[in-house]
Symmetry: C2
Subunit: 505 residues, 2 copies
């Protein structure tokens, strides 16, 4: 197979065998040497994954003058997990903030994120993204994305800075970006799975092995091809929340029975292949569960965006006590941990309930769907509500009265919630109620990258040449807990950054 006597510093890489025909047996993602490889195609930039990061990278590469950029997507449809996310986009100093007189800054957004990151977030990456978030938001608008005319203040954010697509979903961004990609000449190929890197003698990534015509879940499908990338490879392959074995390795409680908001393709093999190449695994243990999810529906569902919108003027109540148990707009980890502590007398899970005045809940388009599909309930009185959910009525009545006092005074004496967005929004019948229970939502962990979207090698401490990573596949930026609506700017800015790094912009 080989006949080498002189192996140097990068002998691992140099020693990789040449690529060739893939046998019928399941072909796992594995990297090979470029020497003697038969190239089936050549592009300037190969992008793996078609979520926010991949799409933004494609558009930006084209804008920077790249004539040949191709996005490879393993699933039959484009958009990845991004297409089914909440469509929430945080950015400082936006036109809508200006219009509404919200005093915000890059530093303020970074400061909010550092707090949620509990001391281990990557400040340089956060600042880089916040500094370019408005550019990325503009890219979505230029492509035709449409946002609600109001700003939301999500948990952990100190001011309202979150836009949301009118369709309340990430597809409101991925679809316009996809059209833009086609318009500017980005080549798009679906059902094509990443199957490993092709690396030259100096250790530089010079191409990718792919399986063309691949059917997700059928590992022996697809024809092996080798694609040369003369300028670079951008890995935008997302997280691994749907890979039960690998998420359980980090947190044994995240079994297959635990809900997950992610698309099925979020299985992490692109990330693990980068570890095999020498990338540094960062914060793999930090897997975030969304505190706004409902146990009454699958995935992200309808309740998530409904409750994200309503938390500021709602109360979350422990059914055993009839009392609030958390600041409804604390960061995600704080709330998810608090919800998980809601148990019955036997210690079994007892999902808490979120109570909202119907008149306010109905301001969100999902309210009707939540009620229609039976994942939310409407009650004419606290009595009926308490009876339905077996909550102690007197305690609940006292809690509602107490909370309405906070709405009036503007000071939450129970949990220090910022009552700014609850002003004038008293809790009164009729009420709508949803149940809450966290679902696996986001992997803070991934490969370590810098503000150029370059990937660091664990032995040399230097970048792995030719390789870039952007979006959820990268780790460390957010630390222990990512704030809501900060993933889309992360993905898009780092995708754009990867393209700029490659193009020398």
């Amino acid at each position: 197979m080989s006949n080498v006597n002189q192996l140097g510093r990068r002998n691992f890489i140099k020693g990789l065998g040449a690529a060739g025909a893939v046998m019928a047996a399941p072909a796992l993602a594995t990297s090979v040497s470029a020497e003697g490889v038969k190239w089936d195609e050549t592009v300037e930039i190969a992008i793996i994954g078609s979520g926010f990061a991949g799409l933004a990278a494609g558009i930006e590469a084209s804008r920077q003058g790249c004539k040949s950029v191709t996005i490879f997507e393993k699933m039959p449809v484009f958009g990845g997990n991004s297409a089914i996310n909440g469509g929430l986009f945080a950015a400082p100093r936006t036109p809508m903030q200006k219009e509404k007189g919200v005093d915000d800054s890059v530093e303020r957004m970074v400061s909010d994120q550092l707090k949620a990151g509990r001391g281990v977030a990557d400040e340089a990456l956060l600042r880089h993204v916040a500094s370019h978030a408005m550019e990325a938001l503009q890219m979505t608008m230029d492509a035709g994305a449409v946002f609600h005319p109001y700003l939301q203040q999500l948990g952990g954010h100190s001011v309202p800075r979150t836009y949301q697509t009118t369709v309340s979903c990430g597809a409101g961004i991925t679809q316009p970006l996809l059209r833009e990609c086609r318009k500017v000449g980005v080549n798009m190929v679906s059902r094509t799975k990443f199957d490993g890197f092709i690396v030259d003698e100096a250790g530089k990534v010079v191409g990718v092995k792919l399986k063309k015509g691949y059917y997700f879940g059928e590992e022996d499908t697809g024809e092996a091809i080798n694609v040369r990338a003369t300028r670079g490879v951008i890995m935008a392959t997302g997280g691994f929340a749907q890979n039960v074995d690998l998420r359980m390795a980090q947190d044994p409680t995240l079994t297959a029975e635990v809900g997950c908001t992610n698309a099925k393709g979020a299985t992490g093999e692109g990330m693990f292949e980068m570890f095999r190449l020498g990338a540094i695994p960062v914060h793999m243990a930090h897997i975030q569960s969304g505190p706004w999810a409902s146990p009454d529906e699958g995935g992200f569902g309808y309740v998530s965006n409904y409750s994200i919108f309503n938390f500021p003027h709602s109360i979350a109540v422990n059914r055993m006590t009839g009392k609030r148990f958390m600041n409804e707009i604390a960061d995600r980890k704080t709330r998810a941990d608090a919800e998980l502590s809601c148990r019955d007398a036997k210690g079994e899970a007892l999902p808490p309930i979120m109570i909202t005045s119907y008149e306010h809940a109905n301001q969100h388009p999902n309210c009707k769907k939540v009620l229609k599909y039976g994942v939310g309930w409407k009650f004419d009185s606290l009595e009926a509500l308490a009876k339905h959910f077996d909550v102690p009525l007197k305690a609940l009545e006292a809690q509602v009265e107490e909370y309405n006092g906070y709405v009036k005074s503007g000071v939450d004496e129970q949990f220090g919630k910022n009552m700014g967005k609850a002003k004038g929004k008293y809790l009164k019948a009729p009420f709508t109620v949803v149940r809450l229970w966290p679902k696996v939502h986001y992997c803070q962990g991934g490969v370590q990258t810098n503000t150029k979207a370059e990937v660091k090698d664990s032995f040399t401490g230097k970048r792995i040449e030719g390789l870039y990573a952007a979006g959820e596949v990268a780790g460390g930026m957010h630390g222990v807990s990512r704030l809501g609506s900060c993933s889309i700017p992360d993905c898009m800015v780092m995708g754009m950054t990867a393209a700029r790094s490659i193009m020398g912009a």
Copy 2:
């Protein structure tokens, strides 16, 4: 270099180049294919690293009938970081527990550890170790290790179950184990650095590349040799607390300026090479700082064991307030986090002080050294103590009086400390005082292993054949925070387990 047309499922492995002479340029740990390799030596079992895990593996392999086992150590002396650790060994149902009437069990120890692990510890691994801890303790005693005649109850443990070597240091175990290794015929080679795996076509680890005559820190030293391991390779290479870049990747606050208790060799390249082979990185973000360390001395020093011994009958005081700020025997993470929150008015670090009655402090052999080397102080009165450390005297006096009330009642109303070990031990002059500030101590993260010490592959979910890992290089067992004195049983039991797995015992 290569000329392969048929690559299959393990084509990455199959495609690895053959090993050869290493050039003068820095040779990084890198793995190669076994095909065409020139073997310089052949052993049955190759063990990398000579700390607790490696030594226990060597002895057990020999006991199980292995005729040829060699331990390779990169440093000039044997014992690794183990030789300078605290020499604290937790085990349930020991002779000393029986003698002292302590009611303990495997389940009780596992339960204590799961609590410190904050829900993400690997229960099966913890139970496996606790079940075999007494066997490992026996191995150290049979080899000649000598322990104090008392049991300690360390932070987070619900009962006293910790033995300590009379030399108050891990060398009290590694030295006897080293002698035992030589006695039973385990071959020991120092200054020999692991430089990558040698892997056959099926993906099985069949040997290791080594650099013989290596000088630590001089990467171009040493002669490259290839050692065949016919039965298996056991990686017992320890943690990465001394690798500043890699620990900062997980926690940016752990800069070079932050103290570290570990030996210089704890740099993690064995672990990272396993990731390159496909091992699963688990809990890399969980790096533990020791709450018993002193900012007034380097490394583990004299204070650490002094304070571990004295915490049960001492108070830790915030110098700004003159008040206690934590349960002095909570788990390590709880205490380290509490200490890090002790700041002056400007937010600068203000290391808290631990106050102990001299008559009790002096029961530990380190007390004299702490005073002699100026890393601890003795005071005849609270006044003198308060003046020296600029602590508000009245508050401190009130705190001491209040605490002595808890000593009397047996109930700590401030922090719920278990006062069992403080019985009759009132705080009274003269006092000894040390300053506390956490130091990087232990990496909970590493490669995922099972209860056979086998290493799992991230793509196949199956074991990597021929490869075993034991000790701190493995990750996941302890979760977010490891309890004190649980590393030696972990290392030794998993080292013994690796040997038994290989020998089919």
